[in-house]
Amino acid sequence: MIKTPEKIELFTADGVPLKLSLARVQRRSKMVAFLMVSPLLLFMVFAFLVPIADMLLLSVDNSIVERILPKTVKSIKYWDPHDDKLPDEAVFAAMVEDIKKAKKAREHTKIGTRLNYESSGFASLFRKAGRKVKKINEPPYKKALIKSDKRWGDIQTWRVIKQFSSGYTGGYYLAAFDLKRDFADGSVSSLPEEDSIYLKLFLRTILLSTTITFLTLIIGFPLSYMLAKVPTRISNILIIFVLLPFWTSLLVRTTSWIALLQQEGVINDFLILVGIINEDGRLAMIHNATGTVVAMTHILLPFMILPLFSVMKTIPKSYVRAAISLGAHPWIAFWKIYFPNTAPGIGAGSILVFILAIGYYITPALVGGSSGTFISNRIAYHMSSSLNWGLGSAIGVILLLFVVLLFLLYDKIVGINNMKLG
């Protein structure tokens, strides 16, 4: 056994321990490096992380009820929604007072909008109450409020308010999974078939995105192979054709597919001309899932070709030559030697296309009809039309988690280091 030598401390010329001196230099260069990336870091934090965190919060935030109806929320705590009795006078008094205050701040309709997401009718209930409460000035508040609108005498109204009185809610997530909580006993059950939509759309989005990814791979692989094989002079020109769609507006590309695929469109006309189909048999290729798949495969194709091409470019030609010279059939040489080497490109391209596909909403909205729309179309609807930002955020978070999960799965099976984005 060799005896480990005594620890010898080394010094630089000016007598500072070498370790310390080295650490100083390294710290300085680390600082410089950090300063150089700090603009990017700041940008990432404010343009990416903060909005995502905000979205996460939005999907569970329910503080609006407590903010606008503070007294009601406090007094309704002592009411048991299982009881088949209306809350007592104190709760009604608190409600009248809260609405009066909210009316002054023009906020009584906000709470109506919020609760209307959970149960239809709250929007008009609170709008009407805002007009009527100024006449209710003395007890009994219960009787007066019910007289102003009989829905205040419905126990269900109060159960909804009670259930959504806490500062946070899981309600948006339940809704995003087609579930609902019973207002009386709090049990969770799934929505009836004719009202459930989100799970179906999640499934369809994943299914169609997988199809699109697969199609871009089938079309993109031979194309990239050819690009990598031909002389650079020609491949440069061909690459321009691949990039050309990037320079065209997304809407123009989508609209041209409508002109091509519609029933009175170019392709149907051509098929009739050559006699493959007759006038009554015009194919429906757009305003359905087929339209979405065709248009999106075209739009996302470059995202598959570019990583594939860059990987294929780096595979030495000698590999396949060596295999053939050792007696392998050219097909075997391709399959056993060349193809495995393209795996990083396939992985990168597929992940890229798939992630882009599940977030698409303009193209599906224009060419998807009713069977080719995606979950992102519902997110867009809740963000810009229904203004139910909570539900929109919840769906967004679920989609985000799904992508992260997929990424981790990919890392586990293929390895993230093995991915080459170009």
Partner: protein, 371 residues
């Protein structure tokens, strides 16, 4: 020599840029208050530019009106602006239901119609002149438009006269285009399923009524192309992709009279809706905007807008002043949705009903679509 030359050029460039910068600062100081007016773009914004903006800027050289075409996403954007604490819009064109929501959320200011707006040409007060069209305290009505059907004259065996012809696949085979939302479609389905028009919303408010409407829509579902933008139906009609389709009447007017397409109107049970102005709360030019608003919504201006687009003025006093189309020279009155010949059977968008039931029925409707 060369050095000196380039030095001279350099000095010249610097001088020019300094002068230009100063000029632009000066220009900004002199210019003008810019008012950002948000509207729908296309022919609609053009009609507002011709009828309101251009004459106003001519009268008030100190005002510059900038058009912004994002009215389609105005509600969401105003909400985001309010949250960010920076409202950059001065006036927004919104449909009545959105105006009510914006008012509900406190994103737009309430307006005292009688003091803020001009009296009618006949001397009536603004509230009398606009009448029931003032559906929200924040809303200044501008036009009445309708969602109605247009059909291909050359592709039907006889002219379509009833909205129920849309549901009649036997007499009128081919595709139809309908808007991808429950509003209007559910009403038409119930009327054609035999519900008395006065009872439509009572029925639609129940689960059974919604099922009934969807069952009626089911009979044509496989023949429907769903549209999301108003321009789609005229295009689909022009391409021969559909034989009949719903859209805003102004779009159909353009397809028929300007583009000379073989399309005819089916006015039966057209649904009236209102469009008008709202003032975002927090606008930095409130005083200027209110002056503009008084001008742009007076009797003559509202009547003028109809020279460029076939939407009806909301002031009673404007109706007699509606004249001819500015370019085509044809009388506009017969193309107005409110013309007695066109308005024999009409519905008015039920704001209260849809404010309450939109979330729920939309979910049911989309679940039905996805089936």
């Amino acid at each position: 020599m060369y050095e000196g030359e380039s030095m001279k050029t350099f000095v010249r460039v610097i001088t020019i840029s300094v002068v230009m910068t100063m000029a632009s600062f000066l220009g900004q100081a002199l210019a003008a208050t810019e008012l950002v007016v948000v509207s729908w773009g296309g022919a609609y914004t053009a009609s507002q530019q011709n009828a309101y903006h251009a004459p106003y800027m001519k009268k008030n050289p100190g005002i510059k009106i900038i058009n912004d075409d994002s009215a389609g996403s105005a509600v969401a954007k105003l909400r985001a602006m309010k949250q960010a604490g920076n409202t950059t819009w001065d006036l927004v064109d919104a449909v009545a239901s959105d105006a009510m929501r914006l008012c509900d959320e406190g994103l737009v200011d309430e307006i005292d119609h009688n003091s803020a707006l001009a009296n009618g040409a006949d001397g009536s007060t603004a509230t009398e002149d606009f009448g029931d069209f003032i559906v929200s305290p924040c809303f200044v009505p501008q036009i009445v438009y309708s969602t109605a059907f247009g059909y291909r004259k050359d592709k039907v065996s006889r002219p379509m006269t009833s909205v129920c012809d849309v549901f009649d696949l036997k007499t009128f085979p081919g595709k139809r285009s309908l808007e991808k939302k429950p509003i209007n479609n559910m009403e038409w389905a119930l009327i054609c399923d035999g519900v008395s028009p006065s009872k439509v919303y009572d029925v639609l408010g129940t689960d059974a009524g919604q099922k009934r409407a969807l069952a009626k829509l089911d009979t044509i579902k496989s023949n429907v192309v769903w549209w999301t933008a108003g321009a789609q139906t005229p295009q689909l009609l022009a391409d021969g992709e559909v034989v009949v389709g719903s859209t805003y009447n102004g779009r159909l007017f353009k397809a028929i009279e300007v583009d000379k397409q073989p399309i005819a109107m089916l006015w039966d049970w057209q649904v009236f809706d209102l469009d008008g102005w709202v003032v975002p709360s927090g606008t930095k030019n409130k005083a200027e905007v209110m002056k503009y608003l008084r001008f742009a919504t007076d009797t003559q201006r509202l009547a003028d807008q109809a020279k460029w687009i076939s939407y009806g003025p909301t002031r009673a006093s404007s109706a007699p002043l509606v004249g001819n189309h500015a370019d085509l020279g044809i009388p506009m009155a017969p193309h107005m949705p409110t013309d007695p010949n066109n308005a024999k059977t009409t519905l008015l968008y039920n704001y209260e009903f849809w404010a309450d039931n939109r979330d729920e029925i939309d979910q049911t409707f989309n679940a039905w679509l996805a089936k």
